[in-house]
């Protein structure tokens, strides 16, 4: 056969690369003439594991491209793509071909086609040129291309590759009688195909959309998507791609039988162009309209918010006349501080102290004065330090000292010592038994002063609930006025003891000393240890489980050393030395854990959780989108915050109200220093946590009370 000889001998019909063998083949059983079936095609034989791609390549890859150069009057049609195979690549997937595939293309020979004159031989032929590019991949990808030529005899039959073309024809998807329907439903695509042949019914079908970038290619049937049969009707629900870039009104698609279900001589796949109903989920019109000018304005706003209070909220500006009110507020706030859980351990000590000195009026007076002095001076010191640091540019707020792991650890140690002392493990002053008289004269005053200092240090995180507004005000004031406010606050805290010291009627109300004091003293050790438990938990928030664990270990060592020091003679020397040495080794080995700061979460928490991390941008983004926002400004070391979180903010009814109003819930965690949160607190006129803000779009923010009540939250939500 001359044709066969020509075809196989002709150089240029085959291109071989390390990954594929590609050959231009033709099938013209009736010769080349107008109306006669003429097929050409590129047959690609892949090396094992390598593949090329379908018209929709899937998550990566490129479809094979064929560019024909044909004589005038001859036109190439589209590639009649055989049914592809889904090729998973890790978490991604492609649609393509492995093994041997033939990509057939029909040629349309029109009546204008003029066969070239046969010169000499008499057997005229048509020159076909093909430039093909394909991407062949295993895990790595190689773009390849080839140029092919083929002389197709005009007369006689070209059928050398008949079997290949026939097999490819048999593997072609068959058109469906009815177009079926595709409906977009949220993030799902619901496909309904009707009148599928009986051979397919009940079988699991593969789904191949011809439009790329539409569904999640790697989704697996039965796991990520579902399909079901009802007679000859096949329905499926498929997940849309997360980053879909196509929104077609008609979806050309192919469904195919799984390879084991395919019968020779029977259709294996079906194709349709289904109309799409429903609306594609809005690709959330990207509005990155942050021009440099706007950006500069935003930055300026942020700077203003950091330096001056109440810049973006509608809180009324503080007129100068309110200073007296603020002073009174500070005094009252200080008084109320005595009821706060933070101050309770101190309260316990004071009650005990008063009971010890029952009847001794001058001692009461001195004690009251010393305590008041301690409280006021420490408030002034703390306030002064905060003002100075803020002036120096540090973003601090009230309670800032508890943001430092070192301070938390030191307080835990101090409270452990106090607890041990109350339990009776040791007595202060044991070291100097001989100077009893002078000690009695001097120690009470120092003790009272120091207990005042301690009260302030411990109480400061609790001041925000009652003093938040007043303190925020103080920070914006000139230094002298601010210091006066701090002094008023201290006076308020100390006032009950001062009054008790000077008004005998109140002191008389206290019970007489007796054996009950020993019981009370031991009882009072437990609030101390409870405080230690809280401080260890706070440290755990800052330094992680290792830090908290190390702190506990060191506290145990400290307790042992304290106990050892109460022993006598050689025993004391030996045991104390051993314990001190052991503690030193332990501190050197793992002590650093306590002071380390564990970084916050690596990946921002995923969507779908109730609480999202707060950021000023997130708030403006949500309110910009018309969603009301509830912000919980909190910190691990803030007991009131924790109470609200566990009680009101965990209440099912309250949460249901939040959900029904579609309120976005953001949590700003101030456990560690965070300049952004400090700035936000400042802008709301506060300098501490807790703070609860409900912000509806286009309305001034509603600041809720610090001890959050259920009915209050629900009323605020109902008013949205």
């Amino acid at each position: 056969m001359p044709a066969a000889a020509q075809l196989s001998a002709k150089p240029g019909a085959v291109v071989t690369t390390p990954h594929v063998r590609a050959e231009l083949v033709a099938h013209a059983p009736e010769g080349v003439a107008p109306g006669a079936p003429v097929w050409v095609g590129l047959q690609i034989t892949h090396q094992p594991e390598w593949h090329t791609y379908w018209k929709n390549a899937g998550d990566s890859g490129l479809p094979t491209e064929l560019n024909w150069t044909l004589p005038p009057g001859v036109a190439a049609g589209e590639i009649a793509w055989p049914v592809p195979r889904k090729i998973p690549v890790g978490t991604l997937a492609n649609y393509g071909y492995e093994g041997t595939v033939l990509l057939p293309v029909p040629l349309e020979v029109s009546s204008t086609f003029k066969p070239p004159l046969a010169l000499g031989t008499g057997a005229s032929s048509m020159d076909i040129r093909l430039k093909a590019t394909w991407l062949v991949c295993r895990k790595e990808c190689i773009p390849e291309e080839g140029e092919f030529t083929l002389a197709l005899p005009l007369q006689g039959s070209t059928a050398l590759h008949k079997a290949d073309f026939d097999a490819t024809q048999a593997a072609q998807p068959q058109p469906l009688a009815k177009p079926g329907a595709v409906e977009v439903n949220g993030n799902k695509l619901q496909v309904r195909l009707e009148d599928l042949p009986a051979a397919a019914q009940g079988k699991t079908l593969g789904f191949f959309p011809e439009t790329p970038e539409l569904i999640r290619t790697a989704a697996e049937s039965g796991k990520d998507w579902t399909q079901s049969w009802e007679g000859g009707t096949w329905t499926a629900t498929l997940p849309l791609a997360d980053q879909r870039s196509a929104s077609p009104t008609t979806l050309p698609l192919v469904v195919a039988l799984a390879e084991p279900d395919r019968q020779p001589g029977q259709p294996v796949a079906w194709r349709t162009e289904a109309p799409v109903s429903g609306t594609w989920p809005a690709a959330a019109a990207p509005r990155a309209e942050v021009s440099p000018a706007l950006q500069a304005a935003l930055a300026a706003n942020a700077a203003d918010a950091a330096s001056a209070p109440a810049s973006f909220t509608d809180l009324p500006p503080q007129p100068a006349g309110t200073f007296a009110v603020a002073l009174l507020g500070a005094l009252l706030g200080g008084l109320l501080l005595n009821l706060m859980p933070c101050v309770f351990p101190i309260l316990a000590i004071k009650v005990l102290g008063f009971a010890r000195q029952a009847g001794n009026r001058s001692a009461h007076r001195t004690a009251g004065l010393a305590y008041t002095g301690g409280v006021m001076l420490s408030f002034l010191a703390l306030g002064g330090a905060m003002l100075a640091l803020r002036a120096a540019g540090a973003q601090l707020g009230w309670g800032f000292q508890l943001q430092s792991p070192a301070v938390v650890a030191a307080l835990a140690a101090l409270f452990t010592l106090m607890g041990l002392n109350l339990v009776g493990v040791f007595e202060f002053g044991r070291a100097a038994p001989n100077s009893l008289c002078s000690a009695q004269a001097r120690h009470p005053i120092a003790n009272d002063f120091l207990s005042g200092v301690l009260a302030v240090v411990i109480a400061s995180p609790c001041t925000a609930p009652f003093m938040g507004a007043s303190l925020g005000f103080a920070i914006g004031l000139p230094a002298t006025q601010a210091m006066l406010l701090f002094a008023a606050l201290g006076l308020g805290l100390a006032l009950p003891y001062l009054v008790a010291g000077f008004v005998p009627a109140i002191a008389k109300l206290l019970p007489k000393p007796g054996p009950w004091m020993g019981t009370l003293r031991r009882l009072l050790a437990f609030p101390m240890f409870a405080t230690v438990a809280w401080l260890v938990w706070v440290l755990g928030q800052q330094s992680g489980i290792d830090g908290a664990g190390t702190l506990l270990a060191l506290l145990v060592c400290m307790a042992a050393i304290v106990w050892a020091l109460t022993l006598r003679g050689r025993t004391r020397l030996v045991i104390a030395t051993v314990l001190v040495a052991f503690t030193a080794v332990l501190t050197a080995a793992i002590g650093r854990n306590v002071l380390q700061t564990v970084e916050p979460a690596r990946m921002a928490s995923a969507a779908g959780q109730r609480w999202q991390p707060w950021s000023a941008d997130r708030v403006s983004e949500l309110t910009g989108a018309g969603q009301p926002v509830f912000i919980d400004f909190t910190a691990a070391w803030c007991v009131t915050c924790q109470y609200n979180k566990k009680a009101t903010l965990a209440d099912a009814e309250v949460l249901a109200d939040f959900d029904s109003k579609k309120v976005a819930m953001l949590r700003a965690d101030w456990t560690r220093r965070d300049p952004a949160i400090t700035a936000a607190l400042t802008s709301l006129g506060r300098s501490g946590v807790p703070l609860y803000v409900l912000q509806a779009p286009g309305k001034p923010p509603v600041v809720l009370t610090e001890i959050l009540r259920k009915d209050e939250v629900r009323a605020a939500l109902a008013a949205l």
Partner: protein
Amino acid sequence: MSLSPSSDSRSIRAARQARAALSRASRRAVVAAAVALGATFLMGNHAFAAPAVGQQAPDFVAVDTSGAKHKLSDFAGKFVVLEWTNPGCPFVRKHYNSGNMPATQKAATAQGVVWLSVNSTERAASDYLQPAALDAWMKSQKASPTAVLMDEDGVIGQAYGARTTPHIFIIDPKGMLVYAGGIDSIASARPDDIKSATNYVNQALGEAFGGKPISAASTRPYGCSVKYKS
């Protein structure tokens, strides 16, 4: 004899360099392990919920080729471009060898945009490059990204749904994903196509800086599959 002092100092220098390299490498390994661990823990079963355009871009911490840590949220207030890359991929080489990618990077960073090239190729892949080698390749291509991030565990890639190299994501100053897709409009490995293609990154950044909405915000990424760790 006369050679000994210089050879001594050379060996000392070599030893010092080796020690520095070791400490850099171990620091990077520790940080990378911590990042991967933290990220894996926090990402958990949300591994496939990649953000759509218009949604908040997931925050991450990653180590660059020189061992420095970068946190996405630290760049708040700036546009950030994430470019998935792998020099072993012909599509990546198309855009680097032609100078297209380095030019796009330069144009972007000159406007104050943060450009982070991310390599999510797993260590076991045949074309995986060590940080130093990747850095050297980037330099040889005169590339000018802000940093080249190593993501061998694919945590960031999976979080963003990065599928191909190259695959581009643009995050606006508010941390919102505003572009996801290809580097340009003609999906091919032919460098000749670059001049007739629309560079989607230049277009998107130009529109964003001009205060206009991004006209092509979701496009088709094309290239090699990201060789994720399985």
